[in-house]
């Protein structure tokens, strides 16, 4: 368009009077828009990554002593136990130990005194919980990986299949404990329950190590463990997603 057309357009626009804007009308329009336009939120993946990193840092900050002692204790134990069958049984009962120890701490952290403080935080308690559960399970998997590598190199038998079966079986306690921790954090968050579960695991470990129960468990076909692990993973995932999407708790 040429200069002449621009001038003509400007002349037409200046001819019309400015519409006076009512301040109250502006505010009501803005309120209406806010009610209907979706609030922009960060991507859940971004939030989760941030909370996961935060949870890992928190675990390292407050529980590094426990974790280091646990790792040293586990490796010391593996050096003392001479028999290879006992290695396998020990592997079964020691993979979820980080969860067992840190689950306790998680139950202690979020009590009634924290509720008001948590309401001021920009993320919900449920989101924090999901990130912490995943963080604790990740640490258990790191522990599992180190122990698995040690087992692979220390077992003298040429039994790739049996090591593979052991690795699949070793995942089951971690997923079970992760799911149990999440369920009890949501539905019945009492320390005494954690005491019961810890004792149950210790009794179970005794049963597995010193009776034929351990061999019987290792003798179950691997497909059962694969199926069971898949079911546990699906249940854990569903519960995590449901918990993540829960509304912020209203506190009066």
């Amino acid at each position: 368009m040429g200069e002449k057309e621009d001038e003509r357009l400007l002349h037409v626009l200046e001819k019309y009077a400015h519409i006076p804007i009512n301040q109250q009308h502006k505010e009501s329009v803005a309120a209406t828009l806010r009610a209907f336009v979706p609030v922009s939120e960060q991507n859940p993946k971004t939030i989760f990554k941030q909370l996961f990193k935060q949870a890992m840092m928190e675990i390292w900050q407050y529980q590094k002593a426990i974790l280091c002692i646990l790792f040293l204790f586990l490796f010391g134990l593996y050096f003392i136990i001479p028999d290879s069958l006992d290695y396998k049984l020990l592997f079964l009962v020691t993979t979820p130990l980080p969860l067992v120890l840190m689950g306790w701490r998680m139950l202690e952290d979020y009590d009634e005194e924290m509720v008001e403080l948590l309401l001021t935080y920009k993320f919900t308690f449920q989101q924090l919980l999901c990130a912490k559960i995943v963080a604790v399970c990740s640490i258990a998997f790191i522990n599992y990986t180190f122990l698995a590598i040690y087992l692979i190199f220390s077992l003298q038998e040429d039994l790739l299949q049996s090591i593979f079966r052991l690795l699949i079986t070793g995942i089951t306690p971690i997923l079970t404990w992760g799911l149990v921790l999440l369920i009890f954090q949501i539905y019945y968050r009492k320390q005494s329950v954690w005491g019961v579960l810890v004792l149950a695991w210790v009794f179970f470990a005794l049963l597995v190590m010193y009776t034929p129960v351990g061999e019987w468990l290792l003798g179950i076909h691997i497909s059962f463990y694969v199926l069971f692990n898949c079911i546990l993973l699906i249940l854990l995932w569903n519960l995590l997603v449901r918990t993540w999407k829960m509304e912020r708790i209203v506190y009066d």
Binding site: Y188, S192, W194, L199, T211, E215, W216, L217
Partner: protein
């Protein structure tokens, strides 16, 4: 009055979810253990009777002890956690009656739990092996864990097991109850009870294999022989006869009940 109080104590216990969680876990572990300890026809002629007699001293006592530890941990600490402890001191008949009632409720819990697990083992054994006659001669069953002199039949041995187990478990529960009078947190009580038991198990099953030739093993043996573990797995029948054991347990039980009644709590005066 006493019966109403006992009923109230029962109600306080049975509303706690921890009891059901522990019973469910123990039932599940017992079913797995029964599968693992399955006897083939060649191993024993009377498999039902052998399982009924041998399962409890073998591993069955673990599934009975664990719920009792949890019940002891919850029976007293629930008042501390609900901040009712000081209020119980105002009871018009005195705290001694309350403690006696709690011990009575605990004893009845032991009866119920032991009966439940005996029944469960019986049902599982029946499903696995069918039924044997309970008036079989005990020698014919060829038990691995029970040592008895004289003529016994299967149902008498089962009754003996039941009574010894009941008083052993209650003795342990009464000791733990005494500890719970001072340690009010249920988790610590569970860990103390479980820890005391597990320490002896580890000494017996693991440490002894390292120190077997050393002089210290004699002292460790004494600790193991006179611990609750040897009562629960009936190893004590190697040292004492059944009647000596039962009378001894009853005497110890009465002494522990008296100790519990007479000991004063640290925060209140009767």
């Amino acid at each position: 009055m006493i019966s109403r109080l006992v009923l109230l104590e029962w109600k306080k216990l049975i509303v706690q979810k921890e009891i059901y969680i522990v019973l469910a876990i123990c039932t599940f572990m017992l079913i797995i253990a029964q599968k693992a300890f399955y006897l083939s026809e060649d191993e024993a002629p009377y498999r039902f009777s052998k399982t009924m007699i041998d399962f409890i001293p073998n591993v069955g006592y673990l599934f009975i002890l664990f719920p009792i530890i949890v019940m002891v941990a919850r029976i007293l600490s629930v008042e501390y956690e609900l901040k009712m402890l000081e209020l119980t001191a105002t009871y018009k008949y005195g705290r001694k009656i309350l403690i006696s009632v709690k011990l009575l409720a605990l004893f009845s819990c032991c009866v119920v739990v032991i009966s439940f697990f005996f029944l469960l083992i019986g049902i599982l054994s029946y499903l696995n092996y069918g039924f044997d006659y309970l008036d079989l001669d005990f020698v014919a069953v060829n038990s691995t864990y029970i040592y008895l002199d004289g003529q016994w039949v299967v149902w008498q041995v089962l009754l003996m097991e039941y009574l010894v187990l009941l008083f052993s478990i209650f003795t342990f529960a009464a000791c733990l109850f005494l500890v719970a009078r001072f340690v009010h947190r249920s988790v610590f009580i569970m860990f103390i009870g479980g820890g005391a038991f597990l320490l002896v198990e580890l000494l017996d099953k693991y440490v002894m294999s390292f120190i077997g030739q050393m002089k210290i093993s004699e002292y460790v043996n004494i600790v193991v022989d006179f611990s609750i573990n040897s009562l629960l797995n009936f190893e004590a029948l190697r040292l004492f006869s059944f009647s000596q054991l039962l009378v001894g347990l009853m005497v110890v039980t009465i002494l522990l009940i008296l100790a519990n009644i007479l000991v004063k709590d640290s925060f209140i005066n009767d």
